[in-house]
């Protein structure tokens, strides 16, 4: 009896030892890959930080109008932000590669799915970035043109244009990420359609007095502008 119990314990111990022995190499490989990725991330962060400082990236970002990026960045430095982003990205990739060292099909499948999802994430980031650029550009164009035409609600128009473009970019990004599915499309369609309908009704019915006053001011402005641009030439 005691021999049987001893035999069961030793078999169990042997299985545990075998399991640990199977797991340990994978763990060691993961630790090694993780350590290498930390080292590479550290080096990449230093290199990117000095490169971006060398090309005066912080100043350029401010000149391009991305003051929000500067404000959100650590120490208000977009260079540090980009360097930090690269650092964590390399570590994340290192973790994903390290996890593939474990001989577990579930883990491998998880890694594959994450790596397959990465291009969608990058595309979504690109869409949002381009959308941000375009939103700022169109908003500023509308603002300056509306002010030059002496439209009183220039800022409101500009803000509306900016948010419309950002919403469009956001909806496209979410569609790429596969988040929300049909709900996002439907919500965006309702929102966008609602805004367009509201504008049409405002111009057609609700704001006709305001529009006619604005048009009168415009005609008056044109008449006055003609005083100097019709009788006189600016150039």
């Amino acid at each position: 009896m005691s021999n049987q119990v001893g035999g069961i314990f030793s078999q169990a111990s042997a299985r545990i030892a075998k399991g640990v022995a199977d797991f340990l190499p994978g763990l060691l490989a993961f630790i090694l890959v993780f350590a290498v990725s930390i080292l590479m991330a550290f080096i990449a962060r230093r290199m990117i930080r000095s490169f971006l400082r060398g090309i005066d990236f912080d100043q350029r970002v401010r000149h391009w109008g991305f003051t929000e990026l500067a404000e959100w960045s650590p120490a208000h430095s977009p260079s540090l932000f980009m360097a930090g982003l690269t650092y964590w990205l390399i570590i994340l990739i290192g973790i994903l590669i390290g996890m593939s060292a474990f001989d577990a099909s579930v883990t491998q499948e998880l890694v594959l799915r994450l790596l397959n999802y990465l291009p969608h994430v990058l595309a979504a980031i690109l869409i949002v970035t381009v959308g941000f650029f375009l939103a700022r550009f169109f908003a500023r164009s509308v603002l300056i043109s509306a002010v030059n035409m002496q439209v009183q609600s220039a800022r409101l128009l500009s803000l509306g244009v900016k948010w419309l473009v950002m919403l469009l970019a956001g909806a496209m990004a979410l569609e790429h990420l596969g988040i929300g599915g049909g709900i996002v499309e439907l919500s965006f369609g309702i929102l966008f359609g609602g805004i367009v309908l509201a504008l049409a009704l405002a111009v057609g019915l609700g704001s006709k007095d305001m529009v006619s006053r604005s048009l009168e001011r415009q005609a008056g402005r044109s008449a006055d502008e003609e005083e100097i641009a019709g009788r006189f030439h600016h150039l």
């Binding site: 500023r140 300056i144 600016h234």
Partner: protein, 424 residues
Amino acid sequence: MEALSEETREQLGRIGAADVVLGIPTFNNRETVGRVVETSLKALANHLAPQRAVIVNADGASKDGTPEHLHEVIGEKVPLVQIRYPVYPVRRLSAPLVGVPGRQEAAGALFLLAKQLGARVCAVVDADLDSITEDWIDRLVSPVLDDGVDMVVPCYRRHKFDGMINSGIVSPFLRALYGKRLRQPAGADLSFSARLVDFFAGQESNSNGNEPSFVDPWNTIPVICNGFRIGQSFLGPRVVHPREVSPDLSDTLRQVLTIVFDPLDRTASFWQRVRGSEDVPSFGPPPEVDAGNTEINVKRMIDSFRLGCQDLAGVWNLILPPATLLDLRRMLRLSDTDFCFHDDVWARTVYDFALGYHLRVIGRDHLLKALTPLYWGWVASIIKELQDSDAEAVEQRLERLSRQFEMQKRYLISRWRWPDRFSP
């Protein structure tokens, strides 16, 4: 520039050589070109008879029969060469300031022919002038032939409120930076010496797709910077046939200021060394200003300025330093009666925009159009001041403005050299 056609080469061969080339760029100007040509023919016969003259018509593919009508009017009186110049789609995107769309390409075609003919002077006049007289051609051509001037810019008789962009920005800016007192540097009817024609023709052949072409003969900056002699001729009033499409004010400002601000980078070493300014040779009778009193309501202009202060503050914050913004805020609090845009503030504002253009703080088109409400503010201020002034008072007032631009030049140079120290 397209190569000359066989027909044009044959014509040039038959003509041989010429002393005076009179260039008339056209683009759908059938209604007005006849008068311009008839006046030019009289001028060539009565004032420039000893000179061998050729009229060159550069046409941008007119659809109303302008070249045929011009040919009919000239007949056999004077040798005529007609050439096509390309009007690229980009030139049709906005209405031209003066003259024809693609006027740079038209000038290139004219210079090519003037060079082939060995002309001593090439004069260019607009085809839509209603007020051209015989004296115009003589006053454009004679200074080049007789006085060794390389470029003659026109000086028109204008109302005191005409050409405010010229009076308020272009003339004082160019005077302060490049040291030449040109009353109306942005003129449309010009003449060029053979030396200058060779220079422009050489510039065009050197320019490639990567570099901005320096060939805009209506821009006096390259002429001044390359040591050519520039003069001005008083021509009288300038009346042009009304156009179907004219650029609006913000587009006009954008086009003009692009021409003025673009060369600043390339010519920085020149204008930073220039101190003060000097008169240029003037020809013709003394220039006159039409000081007829005209009541103009400036309230809307002041409102435009106020709207700009209110809604474009975020944009101006990127361009103007705190001191200038503070001055503008002070002006915002003034009533319509007390409203005044001081010369030093206006000069510094223009210089700040020039610097903003150079540093590309925001998109250049946006930057230049954002100047419009400030320009309206300045125009309102100057109109209030000069409403009841005579010609002499107007001249003195504009002279004070130009001097202020010269005095503030140090401010521009400091900000140009150390932008970080003064950055908004």
